[in-house]
């Protein structure tokens, strides 16, 4: 072969070799075709574990039960029974406030009218369950005070405070 063909060919082979070597180092060992085949299952297997290790923040009402039995029990007999504690009190295991750690910081409670209005703003939608929930007009019904001043969110049926 002539020199002017051979020289660039060596350069190209060199580049390809470098790329292949870099690929061997850079691409993780568990990267490849997995259960769902090449079309849907070409990935790094270890990423599944990465996602499984993601931090759980919402622990559920059962988690609150042991320390806050009074609140847990009082809400259970009311129309609010299906509302999770953390929906208003915030996630128990948040990165900002690990409520169950030794320090036990207080959770920040949203006491504004907004969480109540999520359901209790009246929307007369005939084909939705929303129209069956009792609502108030927030502009006319004591607009300047928090709902919890008069109503007990843990037992809304007990009457006004």
């Amino acid at each position: 072969m002539k020199n002017h063909v051979l020289r660039p060919l060596i350069v190209v082979i060199g580049i390809v070799t470098v790329i292949l070597l870099a690929r061997m180092v850079y691409v993780p060992k568990d990267f490849g075709v997995h259960e769902r085949g090449y079309m849907y299952g070409w990935y790094r297997k270890g990423n599944e574990e990465d996602w499984k290790k993601f931090k759980v923040k919402y622990m559920g009402a059962e988690y609150c039960k042991d320390c806050h039995a009074d609140k847990y029990d009082s809400i259970k007999g009311t129309p609010h029974k299906n509302i999770q504690c953390e929906n208003c009190h915030g996630p128990a295991n948040d990165s900002a406030s690990d409520h169950y750690s030794d320090q036990r910081p207080k959770l920040t409670i949203d006491k504004s009218r907004a969480p109540c209005l999520r359901c209790h703003f009246p929307l007369a939608y005939p084909t939705s369950g929303r129209s069956k929930i009792r609502g108030i007009d927030p502009e006319k019904h004591n607009p300047d005070i928090e709902c919890s001043t008069c109503h007990n969110p843990h037992n809304p049926m007990e009457g006004l405070r």
């Binding site: 259960e35 849907y40 070409w42 990465d50 923040k57 919402y58 209005l117 999520r118 929307l123 007369a124």
Partner: protein
Amino acid sequence: MISRRNFLKKTALGLAGAALPLAALELVDPGKLFAQVAAEKTAVRWVFLVDTLKCVGCGLCVSACKLENEIPYDANVTRTWVERYVLTKKGKLYADTPKGARDGYASTKIELGHGEFQDVKAGEIEKAFFVPKLCNQCENPPCVQVCPVGATYQAPDGVVLVDRTWCIGCGYCIMGCPYGVRFFHPVYHTAEKCNFCYHRITKGMKPACVQACPFGARQLGNIKDPNDPVTKIIRTQRVGVLKSEYGTKPQVYYIGLDEEVR
């Protein structure tokens, strides 16, 4: 010396032998087959069931999802959202989802976009309802097919995940999803999507949105388990899926799906 006849005969025989695949000689092993069937029985395929008849548009699922999955709370992106559909008696359709319904719907005014709102009086409404949306974890996910680097994939249990360390942020998957569930994560700058709270469901917990919903409008199930209550509903009741014409085989089933819902 080998004769011509003999040579041709032996060559034909040899070719025939070579053409026979080794697999054809393998006998069916009942033990192996049984193990395969058993493995199939214990396998998991996560599906989701949304009962739109129960949804009241409180948006607690959306706020729980954003906090659980570390999606910046005030950024206008979310893994799940709730849409409001209002159909008037004159046949006009309005649909909105302000901030993905993160704060619920505390107004009768419907967002039209560009800062405009339309107030529809109760008397004008023919139908109005709420529809929660999330990733459909399609059996044939187009978002996975278009990924050029193998950063998004379908896990063996059917959930489509994104590898944040491998995503190059090209955005093909965001374009490819017919349901518009994907977006760029404002912090990681990689493709982001609902994964049924993979970190929770693999520990036996419910997804954050399912747990947060006070009305039982959202449920997670394993379609490969015939005794799963969600599987029973999907198999015995009238359920629909979104955009089935795309052939993506979405695995989020809806009860009470209206034709206006896209």
